[in-house]
């Protein structure tokens, strides 16, 4: 068991070294381009362990995801790990421990930021407040106003990360609570118009914060066929200038590749979402020019399967 793990570790290291020595450094030297690797999840719904039955049998699991992320971190220099909300609710781990374990494991994996989903309110504002000290990463929301609640000052509208000299602005947008979350669970939280608040936040990120790349963590949902005017990621992309990538959630959509939408200024916006329950890890690699302009990108939806399930 141990020797096998060691073997894997060494192979991974070897592979990483091969990549560094061979292609990547060469590539950096010639073009001075840089690469950002964005890893993302959404709607993990307290799936701490892999599925033990059903069509997703053997898939998912936070320790399994952690192993994959560690491997990628050995291969890549500039990694951002993000989540688009609904971390809570779905297995008894949440019923019994209130989300504390989910936050601890995400911190251990090195999540850089997350946003809030509607189910993250399932134990009310005090339930969230109680679990929050276990999260060593920020929650970003630009359109939930917690000023009049016990959670005032606990969240940020955005955060700027600097990776390999590239400035990446990440912000959060969140779904309307009315009709979705019971009132006693959100209390005096106020929901503000996501488009207006996103425009304001992106202006700040592109202006004062001098960001080269802007990512929105959204729990608005991809789109609503039965109600096309309902606020969603596609409408956000079409109405806000300056976003490069929307990492979505809520609708539990399994996209095999990102969708492309067009912002009002004609620029392309990517939207991605990778299902739910931690079955998949989303990966988007963006190449930047030496002037820090995003150029090409590649994406992968990585289905995580626990090794021991291969033989059982």
């Amino acid at each position: 068991m141990e020797s096998r793990r060691e073997f894997i570790k060494k192979s991974v290291l070897g592979l990483g070294a091969l990549a560094m020595g061979g292609t990547s450094t060469e590539l950096f030297a010639k073009s001075k381009s840089k690469k950002l690797t964005i890893l993302h999840t959404n709607d993990m719904h307290s799936w701490i362990e892999p599925y033990t039955k059903g069509k997703h049998k053997g898939m998912g699991g936070m320790a399994q995801r952690a192993a994959l992320i560690k491997k990628i971190r050995l291969e890549e220099q500039n990694v951002l790990l993000l989540d688009a909300g609904d971390i809570f609710q779905g297995t008894p781990y949440f019923n019994f421990f209130g989300g504390e374990l989910e936050f601890k494991l995400m911190s251990e994996m090195g999540y850089d930021a997350a946003t809030l989903g509607n189910h993250d309110f399932d134990n009310g504002l005090d339930g969230l407040a109680k679990a929050l000290p276990h999260a060593q990463f920020p929650f970003l929301t630009c359109n939930y106003d917690f000023t009049k609640t016990e959670l005032a000052g606990k969240f940020l509208p955005y955060k700027v990360f600097v990776k390999g000299g590239i400035r990446i602005g990440v912000f959060g947008t969140n779904i309307e609570m009315n009709g979705l979350i019971s009132e006693k669970n959100y209390g005096d939280t106020v929901w503000l118009d996501p488009i207006g608040k996103a425009q304001e936040t992106v202006k700040q990120l592109r202006g004062e914060e001098k960001c080269d790349y802007v990512i929105c963590l959204s729990h608005l949902g991809l789109t609503y066929k039965e109600n096309p005017s309902k606020m969603c990621d596609i409408l956000l992309a079409r109405n806000v200038e300056g976003i490069n990538l929307i990492i979505g959630g809520h609708t539990h959509t399994f996209l095999s590749k990102p969708l492309t939408e067009t912002a009002p200024d004609g620029r392309k916006v990517l939207i991605n979402q990778v299902g739910w329950a931690g079955i998949n890890l989303g990966r988007i690699d963006v190449d930047f020019s030496y002037q820090h302009q995003p150029k090409d990108w590649q994406s992968a939806t990585i289905n995580i399967v626990e090794n021991s399930w291969k033989t059982t």
Binding site: E108, K257, Q298, N303
Partner: protein, 250 residues
């Protein structure tokens, strides 16, 4: 067998991904490329260590035996062994929480996710049966709303009642009784139900017309767990049969 074949495919795919990694991954001017990959992985041992004490506590809780069922209780249209058992106990427990009588209780079969197995029943079985944190509420309904509810029952057959009986004859609902008395459309009735259905869930939009809502402050699942533990203390096993609460005349 077919599962193993599927797994073989996954291993092959993983190998392909692995081999693919040796090629330069991101050449300059790469065309935009999206792939679906499968990764087969061992769990990270450090995270398993963090999970371990939680898993042990959880397993100890979930594997705790709280009762014994004489036979498997399953769900079905109009009434069922599982539906009758659950909704009868919900009415009893709701009255206890409310501190006064309630006319009838409702659940839909969509809300009862798995059967109660024959033999030992664990806390985990009840979490599988009712994974949601739905809370119990008491609604006051006009007679006309109860009529809509019964029309829905006849059409969709997905309701299970306690304290309300009826006959379906030629697609028409008749001989309706509530709390043992004939139904009067001009009267108001109290009904115990989950907050999910009270909010119009499972296409019961008309429940939003209720004249009043009272929160019992207890979860649907909590009521089931309490009731079964009380039965076991009294030396009773879980048992339920279908009865004449719904009669269908062809």
């Amino acid at each position: 067998m077919s599962y193993k074949r599927g797994q073989f495919g996954i291993v092959l795919l993983a190998l392909l991904v692995f081999v693919g990694c040796k090629k330069p991954l991101y050449p300059v001017n790469a065309t935009i490329k999206s792939t679906n990959q499968v990764t087969v992985t061992e769990p990270d041992s450090e995270l398993l260590e963090i999970i371990k004490p939680y898993k042990e506590r959880l397993d100890a809780q979930m594997n705790r035996i709280i009762g014994f069922s004489e036979k498997e209780l399953t769900r079905g249209p109009l009434q069922s062994t599982l539906g009758n058992f659950i909704i009868d106990l919900i009415l009893v427990k709701s009255e206890e929480y409310y501190g006064k009588p309630i006319d009838f209780a409702l659940v839909t079969i969509g809300g009862l996710r798995t059967p109660i197995p024959q033999g030992n029943v664990t806390v985990g079985n009840i979490y599988e049966l009712m994974p949601f944190e739905n809370e119990l509420v008491v609604l006051t309904l006009k007679g006309s709303t109860v009529e809509k509810l019964l029309e829905h029952s006849v059409e969709h057959k997905n309701t299970q009642f306690a304290g309300l009986t009826y006959t379906i004859e030629g697609g028409i609902c008749k001989n309706i009784t509530i709390d043992g008395k004939p139904f009067d459309v001009n009267k108001s009735y109290t009904m115990s139900v989950s907050d999910y259905l009270a909010g119009g869930g499972d296409h019961l939009d008309f429940l939003k017309e209720s004249e009043g809502t009272y929160q019992l402050g207890k979860t649907f699942r909590g009521a089931i767990l309490e009731y079964i533990e009380e039965m076991t203390k009294k030396g009773e096993n879980i048992a339920c049969e279908k009865d004449d609460r719904v009669v269908v005349v062809e």
